[in-house]
Symmetry: C2
Subunit: 355 residues, 2 copies
């Protein structure tokens, strides 16, 4: 029996090149020099291609989902932050005090927090979806992060959350994540699936010293060597189970679910990009539904963006995660739709074109 992730992947269709061409032609009729709106013009074309119509509908309402999980690789000393911060930050998201809440507010995006793999028990809260697949991952330096069945379950959680947010009216999805240590499995997945050596794509995450970085690179190297020996790198979902995280798996499902529902998915930093690399490996058509919100300072983000052929909208030196960089980009995505829908044409405004 197939699950929500498989169904989503099967439902993804290529985006509509004809609608994109219509958007480009319409841009040339609007009261501005051709191409003068820079990146907003192809972005408007992408939104038209996603929706299958030009001008595209406004990508609104917006919904952000923050998937949370813990990581056994903390045993390797890859971060100075204690694991309990994951659960504490989940409580902060639910209480509305985190950066993701503050940046979701101006785009009127409700924040859905999803426990897909936090190590501890969490209290009930109206903003919290309890979808725990397991209590944190195994230590990827020495063992698989999770079983294939657990990876499938987490992928399904993400796909189901995307479908349910779209069913509730969302027309733009934003990826969010929380998991102390989760830049380590992200680096491992990006190294393995994009063909990089670990040292090139393993970064300082939220801020670590040289010694910690050395332990982190070593953990990624051992994880990839172990996964390779086990034959886990021949299949993207096996690689995800071997090297990933529960929130990363859920994000891959969320991305596939958004693409299946034909809504733009604005992806955040290196965690979401690792998930996007997994989804892309399963079905490359998914990627045309993605908008890269920003360029994180994490080197794995740049590698994943290049692998996926995505150019981020913002480059502000962010390295927070939670969905913050993607939320900051949402007004730009909406602006790209607005100019196509609302600007006057040379004809309608009686403006003379250049000689």
């Amino acid at each position: 029996m197939s699950g929500a992730f498989d169904d989503a992947i099967a439902a993804v269709v290529p985006t509509d090149a004809r609608a994109a061409a219509e958007a480009a032609a319409h841009h040339d009729r609007l009261t501005k020099p051709r191409g003068a709106l820079g990146r907003l013009e192809p972005l408007g074309g992408q939104l038209a291609a996603i929706a299958g119509v030009s001008p595209p509908p406004l990508p609104s309402p917006v919904a952000v989902a923050v998937f949370a999980g813990d990581h056994g690789v903390l045993a390797q000393g890859v971060t100075p932050w204690p694991a309990e911060v994951t659960a504490q930050m989940v409580a902060n998201f639910c209480a509305g005090g985190a950066a993701v809440n503050v940046l979701a507010a101006p785009v009127s995006a409700p924040v859905t927090v999803v426990d897909v793999g936090v190590a501890s028990d969490l209290d009930d809260h109206p903003a919290l979806l309890r979808r725990k697949v397991r209590r944190g991952t195994g230590d990827i330096a020495v063992e698989p992060a999770m079983t294939a069945d657990e990876a499938r379950a987490a992928l399904d959680v993400g796909a189901e959350v995307a479908a349910s947010l779209v069913a509730a009216g969302a027309r733009c999805l934003v990826t969010g994540d929380m998991g102390i240590g989760n830049t380590t499995p992200s680096a491992a997945l990006i190294a393995a699936l994009c063909g990089h050596v670990p040292a090139d794509v393993t970064g300082r995450g939220t801020g670590i010293d040289d010694e910690t970085l050395g332990r982190k690179v070593s953990a990624v190297e051992r994880a990839i060597a172990r996964a390779s020996r086990a034959g886990d790198l021949d299949d993207p979902v096996r690689a995800l189970a071997s090297l990933g995280g529960l929130e990363i798996a859920a994000l891959a499902g969320f991305i596939a679910g958004g693409a299946a529902a034909r809504v733009p998915v604005v992806v955040d930093g290196v965690i979401a990009l690792a998930a996007a690399v997994v989804a892309h490996a399963v079905n490359p058509d998914v990627t045309a539904y993605l908008v890269a919100g920003h360029r994180s300072t994490e080197p794995g983000a740049a590698a994943a963006l290049a692998h996926l052929g995505l150019v981020p909208l913002l480059d502000l030196g962010l390295r927070l995660g939670e969905g913050t960089g993607a939320l900051l980009a949402v007004p730009l995505v909406q602006a790209a739709a607005r100019v196509l829908a609302d600007m006057a044409t040379f004809d309608s405004a009686g403006v003379t074109e250049k000689g």
Copy 2:
């Protein structure tokens, strides 16, 4: 008798370094790794310094003013667009169909259109301020753009518009411009005041071919040679009168007026930056009130940004003007204030700091 511009320049005080330091200290207490919000953190500090208090107030309501003028240098064949497009676009702004209107709407910014130097007569419109100083400039390749008195009058118009928008409640000003040919005087001012050769800072504006670019560079070279011979480059307001445009002068006044009122001024592309260079030359304290919205593709913009020490928030390949790039950056400016005002601290949220 001094005018509104002189009064504004005299009223500008250095921004408050202590408030900026308080904002930086507060950032380190918020529930995120230190520095993880990248550029938003010093931007929040700048907003605190401008307002003199941390956390800074939300830069809202927003108001954008689009200053319009025509340019005698069109006689040199510097653009394929006919001069009448300036007036046609003013009508488009008033009717709400231009890019600036579409991008002002989501930040709830009223668009004030100011005729400070359009060559033709314009019809009355509630959105149009009629402050025409003269009907277009002289051809700067062969004669001064305007007299010193006319430059003063246009500077005063800009300062008065800024003061009046702030008096009406605006807490964030956005620069806008319209004037067929106005990248030519902007390049001349930037070359003259930032010490560049014309060919390095003269670009393709809204899109011109090599032959037109050659004529444009030549026009800028002749303008600067003429101004230099006349001794016009020893004083920024004389340089403005000799090389500038009426809307550029008004923008310099607008920038000074915003700084005098202690509100952030989000500057758009090369036209606004040329005006900022003039205002900076008159009083360098003005510049601390400026936020560079974006990096225009025009080479003069990069030169002016470097001269002013400003790093733009966006780099989206825009080359439209009107205030569009600045308006797109407004949500980022507001986000910088929101995180300081609204995020929980480690203490308040019960989140453990890193070890």
